[in-house]
């Protein structure tokens, strides 16, 4: 087993990784930028080194500095977490060169499966159906017609150089194709100087369901069930759950076996995720592979009882997977909310700054993977993920009830967060009935979901009283300034202690 692992990341995932190391009795070496000197992952580490200024290009993305720290601290392994350099084969290669084990797949497997086109080709080899269509530019309208026929309508035309919806056209029937082809081509030409188009089957209200795979270096490969991540805002997952509410044993084993087959073809080892879109008829289409630990790995941990990070470390150290596919058992249901420093009331604009006060949820079934603490200033330089709130229950209803309850306890003061959005989602009938698809949240937000304020006059009364107390303490501070008469003996009590009304009908004798 390793002696010391370099945690080449920050925030909640760095905290998660160093907890795994501590459990295993392995030294965990943290790195930090100038903005992160007192970040939680540094506070909880047993060893920590500065690697540069705040911008990640000068710190967390600097492979040379990571290697210097690894050498200085005597690390024999490195865990990249997710984001930053996690899917960069150059880091894995640098590790190999410096005699440091990279905890993840080989750089070759990362390259094979990490690129969208490469992975699609491998999927074809493995007999795994990708979203029908082609990622290659289409030469002509005639070719487009043939490809659309093959994929089946509706299809969507997309600009090869595109993004942001420009040069994109939804085509429902063959009759619309020629007009759409023309329009999309000229729009793409104007927007990107590149009129080339490609074509994909348009899935109506698809669900995002992904399979966690795990392989050791001895040729064993398993799948650890699925996660449904259909609640997304602008293609960014915000809620994940396991199992998927639409899954049954047969579909799970078909999708799991497809994912394992693809990973095998790619020569994959360690933890990886194969993402699929699933349509209303429960056909599944391969999307892409994430060649790393996922943000949402905790929901799989909760239902399988496995610790994926410790498993990653063991597998990277050359140990065989300690179980077979048949041993993987799921119990209960788990959900995760990604708590971001962003302002839902202001177009989800990021909201860094000092966390003035925090009340964090806890109790049965609640796990909080946090990267921040009250009193810390969330820096301006990184991803706004503050914490992941995870709820486990014996079934989906119980998990959702626990999440709703935990969201009611959770308070973060001083910065804006998306907590209120989650509170509303967890009261939405669509969500509670699991009638979800990847555009559900965007559509709901577009209908002004967060604009409608709940009318709660009692809460307003409470606010008014609090403001009165605040006003009183402001006044008494002023009154206690030098030059005034001495405050009465009970002055401090007056300010901070209970201001109570002991009315007759209160239960007291």
């Amino acid at each position: 087993m390793f002696r010391k692992i370099l945690i080449a990341n920050r925030g909640e995932i760095a905290v998660r990784l160093l907890r795994a190391c501590r459990e295993m009795g392995i030294g965990a070496v943290a790195v930090f930028s100038e903005a992160d000197r007192v970040a939680l992952h540094v506070r909880l580490a047993s060893e920590a080194y500065a690697i540069g200024p705040a911008p990640s290009s000068e710190s967390y993305l600097r492979i040379d500095r990571l290697m210097e720290v690894a050498k200085r601290a005597g690390c024999d392994a490195l865990h990249p977490g997710y984001g930053f350099l996690a899917e960069n084969p150059a880091l894995a290669r640098a590790c190999a060169k410096h005699g440091v084990t990279f905890i993840g797949p080989s750089p070759e497997a990362m390259e094979r499966l990490g690129s969208k086109t490469g992975a699609r080709q491998l999927a074809r080899q493995a007999g795994v159906q990708a979203v029908p269509g082609t990622l290659e530019p289409i030469a002509s309208l005639q070719a487009a017609r043939a490809a659309a026929e093959e994929a089946g309508y509706p299809i969507v035309l997309k600009a090869v150089s595109g993004g942001g919806g420009k040069g994109m056209r939804l085509v429902s029937t063959e009759k619309e194709l020629a007009g759409a082809w023309r329009d999309a081509q000229s729009e793409a030409e104007n927007a990107f100087g590149d009129g080339r188009l490609y074509l994909e089957k348009y899935l109506v209200a698809p669900r995002h369901i992904e399979i966690q795979v795990f392989g050791d270096i001895h040729g064993h490969m398993v799948y650890l069930g699925e996660r449904e991540c259909s609640v997304q805002r602008r293609h960014q997952k915000v809620i994940e759950e396991a199992p998927s509410p639409v899954m049954d044993a047969a579909l799970r084993s078909r999708m799991g076996e497809a994912a394992v087959k693809l990973a095998r073809v790619g020569g994959y080892t360690n933890a990886g995720t194969v993402e699929f879109l699933v349509d209303a008829q429960r056909n599944f289409y391969f999307l892409e592979v994430n060649t790393r630990l996922q943000v949402e790995h905790p929901v799989t941990e909760m239902v399988t009882g496995l610790d994926l990070v410790k498993l990653q470390i063991r597998v990277a150290a050359g140990e065989p997977l300690p179980f077979a596919q048949a041993d993987v058992a799921m119990r209960g249901h788990a959900m995760e909310c990604r708590i971001y420093a962003e302002d839902p009331g202001n177009n989800f604009f990021p909201s860094p700054g000092k966390i003035q006060t925090q009340r964090t949820p806890a109790g049965p079934g609640i796990r909080l993977d946090e990267g921040v603490y009250a009193g810390w200033t969330v820096p301006n330089d990184y991803d706004p993920l503050l914490a992941k709130l995870i709820a486990f229950g014996s079934d989906r209803d119980e998990a959702a009830a626990r999440m709703r309850s935990a969201l009611a306890e959770y308070f973060i003061g001083g910065i804006e967060t998306n907590l209120e959005m989650f509170r509303r989602i967890f009261n939405h009938p669509d969500f509670l009935r699991a009638e979800l698809h990847t555009r559900w949240l965007d559509e709901w937000l577009a209908r002004g979901a967060l604009g409608t304020t709940r009318e709660e006059s009692k809460a307003e009364d409470a606010a008014a009283i609090a403001v009165a107390l605040w006003q009183l303490s402001q006044s008494s501070q002023a009154a206690m300034a030098p030059g005034n008469a001495a405050p009465p003996a009970d002055g401090s009590r007056w300010k901070r202690a209970a201001i109570q009304e002991q009315v007759d009908r209160a239960p007291r004798k």
Partner: protein, 189 residues
């Protein structure tokens, strides 16, 4: 401001401060009146003239526990431009209530959170970040809604806009500078 505390800082401690306060607030479109009278150990509260049973205490700076006829609320107060923002947690969730003191000038004058004073509008940074572009210069005419500067935070950019039509009296920031939320970006007259 029609409150006993209005005797002002530096003046003698008025008997009203010792015995209670009366405060006019604006919440949404409604004007609310809060009154508290102290009798010995006991505080008696009235909301809009109606007697209510209140047990209220400050738990930490800016955090209050309010028991209102038995119902429990936790209120977190933060000052923001033009008033106070109250995050009210009840058992079932959290609600944001924006409270303005009815005579904001008196209050703002005391706490330095001026927004518009004598026709001068201070444009405040809505969030901390780095100024990546300044879109106006001193003497420029601006219309309401026009962009003043672009702030970048957490890899996203956002425009700060003027809320009135007028002339830029002063630009307080420079490109590349970091600002805190509430910091003055420019003054429009």
């Amino acid at each position: 401001m029609e409150t006993s505390s209005n005797s002002g800082a530096g003046g003698p401690r008025s008997p009203e401060i010792k015995n209670g306060l009366k405060l006019k607030l604006k919440i949404g479109e409604k004007t609310r009146e809060v009154e508290m009278v102290r009798e010995g150990e006991i505080a008696r509260w009235r909301l809009d003239g109606r007697a209510v049973e209140v047990n209220a205490i400050e738990i930490a700076a800016g955090t209050y526990s309010i028991l209102l006829e038995g119902q429990a609320f936790e209120v977190h107060l933060a000052q923001e431009a033009g008033g106070l923002r109250a995050e009210v947690s009840a058992g079932e969730g959290v609600q944001t209530v924006r409270v303005k003191l009815v005579d904001p000038r008196a209050w703002q004058g005391r706490h330095g959170h001026t927004v518009e004073v004598e026709g001068r509008l201070q444009i405040l940074a809505p969030m901390p970040g780095k100024i990546v572009r300044v879109l106006v210069k001193q003497g420029d005419a601006v219309s309401a809604g026009q962009g003043i500067a672009v702030i970048e935070a957490m890899k996203m950019q956002n425009e700060v806009r003027s809320r009135k039509t007028g002339i830029i009296e002063r630009v307080m920031v420079a490109e590349g500078k970091t600002v805190n939320a509430g910091e003055v970006v420019a003054v429009v007259v």
